[in-house]
Amino acid sequence: MKTPIQFRLNGEEVATFVESGANLLDTLRESVGDLSVKGGCWQGTCGTCTVLMDGSPRLSCVTLAETCAGRSIETVAGLRRGADLHPLQSAFMERFAAQCGYCTPGMLMAAKALLDKNPNPTRENVVDAICGNICRCTGYEPIIDAVLDAARSDNRRRA
């Protein structure tokens, strides 16, 4: 049975039909066509499917799509600021914080959730923010450095 739902995706209103019981990850990728969200485990374990719901990080693979009606969803596809990359995206490139790249969409959104609420995070804050996101390539250090760099560059831009 298909159910109609409507929500905001990266600032744009989206209306679609979902299979009853579908998760948000599959809905974004298969019904809406936002392939920036990656699926890893479909168990709520790896964090690569992290999106923001009303500004807070959520694991889209274990989020019932129907609970997103009327909510605001943000994905990596909406990170760019016009023609410019988001400071997090630039910092990830400069710090080589992505290797295979599979965890990167979730890492970026988990980091964005942190910086949106705490523009001056400590290293400990960053570690906690990404502790639910698994990376098997980088050893995490370049990612942590990139998030701290992004916070600094974004603060400089605002000053």
Binding site: Q43, G44, S56, A110, G132
Partner: protein, 272 residues
Amino acid sequence: MSITVKTFPRLAEAAGALSQDRGARFLAGGTLVMRSVNEADLAIETIVRSTDPSFVHIAVSSGRVELGAGVTMAGILAERDLAYLHPVARAVGGPAVREAATVGGNLFAPSPYGDFTAALLALDATLMLAGGFGQREVPLEDFLGRRDRGAVLVSSVVFKRPAADAFRFLKVTRVHPKGVSVLSIAVQLPSASGRISGARIAYGAMGPSPVRAKAAERALEGRTLDAAGIAPTWAVAADGTAPVDDAIASAWWRRKILPVHLRRLLLGAAHT
């Protein structure tokens, strides 16, 4: 096979739907139920949910605390009056999991998960169950012994606010800051004239569900909270537990390290 999602404005209605449908599961945050749905668990034919505001309500008044079963770990962390529970809520998953994982869902989390439930057990919590029969109260300890039997809907969890500094919690993991429990320990240590009176100790991941350490509680009765006072707990710390071998740790290892961490927690020397 398609799944039907039923959403009810009142918990009582959701409880009614749950009790009438053997293929129904109640969805709160989704971290448990959606895993099963994603695995195509054929036992799940209906997802029942509720938008009842009481389900996500926190009430703290004159020593009594009531947490709606839909309150999330993030909700606990946002509540200053629940500061003693913050280390427990922070031990549940990463930030994205904490936004979804609920107090009620944790009650059903299989071992080695369910750290928050161990804390509630140490706090001597009572569950308010909604059902076709109306609302009734069940002590958490009784509930844990038969939580897999029958469809029940927990509407809220009630407990007395612990005395200042009387509640402590630690979680032992191999990965920091977020890892699955090797074990977790929650203690409530009321004292009178410097001696422990009516201690409650609960373990997570030391059995199929969180369990009380009654022998260790008895060993603490009337004792002082120092190295000599807590010494009798060492020998009986693992009494009544039934840990299992899993990917995180062996049962032998869990039993072996339990007294060490209990000692550290009781002496206030634990690093969580």
